[in-house]
Amino acid sequence: MVSKKMTIKNEQGMHMRPASLLSQKATAFTCSVKINYSGNSYDCKSIMFLMAACIKCGSDIELVCDGPDEEKALNDISEFIESGMGD
């Protein structure tokens, strides 16, 4: 299992568009991809749970990947979050 702490920078937080793109990205990996945020763990492969997490701009999250391709998943996905998730 690998993980990385990061900050959400999207002005409007995890709304529909970034959640949609992020879930598509995460689904491409075999390993599990989760976001820990304010005491809960959310499945990144689901747009519904990502939106339900209600993550705001400036929130600190932890990205956790667990499985065969965890290293590449952590790299790619954290880079994507850093880049503002297409916003």
């Binding site: 002005e11 709304h15 529909m16 949609s20 879930s23 749970f49 939106m51 339900a52 209600c54 400036g58």
Partner: protein, 568 residues
């Protein structure tokens, strides 16, 4: 008369068509042939996806990409493993497709609608929309085809779903009345995009009316009249004509230069608060950004934003605007704007205290981070720096020397910036106005902030109801001050703008024109209104009016005279 939320402006008069919700009840069944049931479910989802995809494509073409994304989101939602995946699991366990769909959607609906967040509650209504649409497919229910209603129809329904809105054909629907939904709901956004008057959240309206009743709706005021008396109807027919005429007049200014009636060009900029607003400014036909408030970076945060974070935000705004001017006002905190993590001292008179440029020059580390970020962003567009709350020449010199110091740092780091970046000041204090001639020698441009200028000139706290009557930019003292500032800038040949509310005030515009204002910076939605008013006055007419106005003794006289002179 019924009152509701004014969600989309304009007057609509027409014959009512009620959209009654279908009976979507079903009997839950235990399934033995789960494979066949899953097939039935998949076909329903597939039909829903196809229909929605076609609608989204149509909306993208007719309305715009933002509105289409709402519907495309519905597809992503239903296809999500936690949605259709969970539903199929329930079908595998012997539940019928209707039960599975309802249970999973209701679970998410409950989760989203209980959140204390506007955007999430909006998602809840999306989920409800998805549920109903797929359920109709499963139950084989065909919807009323809204695209076929007769011209002059007023739609009355409980809620206008995005899928319903997408069937609306421009000219046919004269108005929309719903029982739920707010100003920022999808129905409101779509109604505005289609320019159809809409009043939302009118309780009980569906049961209170019959098909073919006559409805008058005022989407500007949020009023609905059903089968009104002749005189009311006549009044609204006139009001509708007036609205349409005014709207057509404003639309005729889209894409035009901002010119006075005698052909002098002035600049018409926008005030914005976030980089995204820059897009709005362009959509509204703004010619640049006259005031980019940088506070959002600091207020919506739990710590100081880094140089890179700030750089990204400023660069984004500059790039969105292409080569057009973007004037960034440096951190304007203190006064009524507190940033908790900065732990600023409590003051007895915060508006006369340690705020804006005073705070920034006293905390050079914070200020240098911001100035450096702005300088770096200046490599990506036409960026200018604006200093808030200037009261002395020293402050302008102080900021300029910091800017020069930072330019050297950037040179040493090999980072790009605009070497000729302009540094201007806000003129919004009585002292800045009195020494405008001196400041004009130091500053590259002026921008008049009428809200603070009025407050400081009149020595009045506008939040205090006992003295609020003194708070008016039409007070002779404030008008003289504005005139002096503009004349000093004109004399020194530096551009002078105004970014306060007064810049879009139809009564103030002829005076500003007479004084010689170069740039008007307004809320994006007021761009066309301001351009229209500016186009009605020649400089000579404006000067004649301003001579009369400046000879008057009281604010009341001035406002009365300006109202008579106003050109609608």
């Amino acid at each position: 008369m019924y009152k509701g939320i004014a969600a989309s402006r304009g007057i609509g008069i027409g014959s009512i068509c009620r959209i009654i919700e279908h009976d979507l009840t079903f009997e839950a069944r235990q399934i033995t042939d789960t494979a066949a049931e899953k097939q039935r479910f998949r076909e329903a989802v597939e039909a829903f996806v196809q229909e929605t995809t076609a609608m989204a494509a149509d909306i993208r073409k007719r309305i715009g990409p933002k509105e289409a994304e709402i519907l495309e989101g519905h597809i992503v939602m239903i296809m999500d493993p936690s949605m259709s995946g969970e539903m199929e699991k329930m079908i595998d366990a012997g539940q019928c497709a209707e039960t599975a769909l309802t249970a999973v959607c209701d679970m998410f609906y409950g989760m989203f609608s209980s959140m204390n967040d506007d955007m999430m509650r909006q998602r809840a209504s999306d989920i409800a929309d998805v549920k109903v649409s797929v359920l109709k497919k499963l139950l084989g229910i065909e919807d009323v085809d809204i695209s076929k209603v007769a011209p002059g129809t007023v739609l009355v329904c409980r809620d206008l779903t995005p899928s319903m809105t997408s069937q609306i054909v421009g000219g046919n629907v004269a108005g929309i009345i719903t029982e739920i939904g707010g100003k920022t709901s999808h129905s409101a956004i779509l109604a505005r995009a289609l320019e159809i008057p809409a009043v939302l959240s009118v309780p009980g309206i569906v049961d209170a009316v019959k098909d073919k009743d006559t409805a008058v709706i005022d989407g500007t005021e949020g009023e609905v009249y059903i089968n009104p008396e002749g005189d009311i109807l006549a009044r609204f027919v006139l009001k509708r004509e007036e609205f349409i005429r005014k709207q057509a007049e404003l639309n005729s200014f889209i894409g035009k230069e901002t010119l006075t009636a005698d052909g002098q060009k002035v600049e018409l900029f926008c005030n914005i608060g976030t980089p995204k607003d820059a897009r709005k400014a362009l959509e509204c036909d703004g010619e640049g950004i006259g005031l980019f408030r940088s506070e959002f970076l600091f207020m919506d945060n739990t710590r100081l934003p880094s140089e890179d974070e700030q750089y990204e935000a400023y660069r984004e705004a500059a790039q969105i605007m292409g080569g057009k001017t973007v004037i960034i006002r440096t951190l304007d905190i203190g006064g009524d704007k507190d940033i908790p993590y900065l732990k600023m001292q409590k003051e007895d008179n915060p508006f006369l205290g340690y705020r804006a440029v005073r705070y920034c020059l006293g905390n050079p580390d914070i200020y240098k981070t911001q100035l450096k970020a702005i300088l770096r962003a200046s490599a990506h567009g036409h960026v200018k720096i604006m200093i808030p709350l200037v009261t002395t020449v020293d402050e302008v010199r102080g900021v300029k020397s910091l800017v020069e110091e930072l330019k050297k740092e950037l040179d040493a780091e090999g980072k790009a910036y605009d070497k000729n970046i302009q540094v201007g000041c806000m003129i919004e204090t009585a002292s800045a106005s009195l020494i405008a001639d001196l400041l004009a020698k130091e500053a590259d441009f002026f921008s008049i902030g009428t809200n603070d200028l009025t407050q400081y000139t009149m020595s009045v706290d506008r939040g205090n109801p006992n003295v609020a009557y003194l708070y008016s930019a039409f007070q002779p003292a404030v008008l003289r001050s504005i005139k002096n500032i503009i004349e000093c800038a004109n004399k020194a040949h530096i551009p002078v703008g105004m970014c306060g509310e007064a810049a879009a005030d139809p009564l103030m515009i002829p005076l500003l024109m007479a004084f010689g204002l170069d740039e008007y910076s307004v809320n994006p939605v007021l761009v066309l209104t301001a351009r229209c008013i500016i186009s009605k006055w020649t400089r000579a007419e404006a000067c004649e009016l301003s001579d009369r106005i400046l000879a008057m003794d009281t604010e009341a006289e001035i406002v009365a005279a300006l109202k008579i002179a106003a050109k609608e």
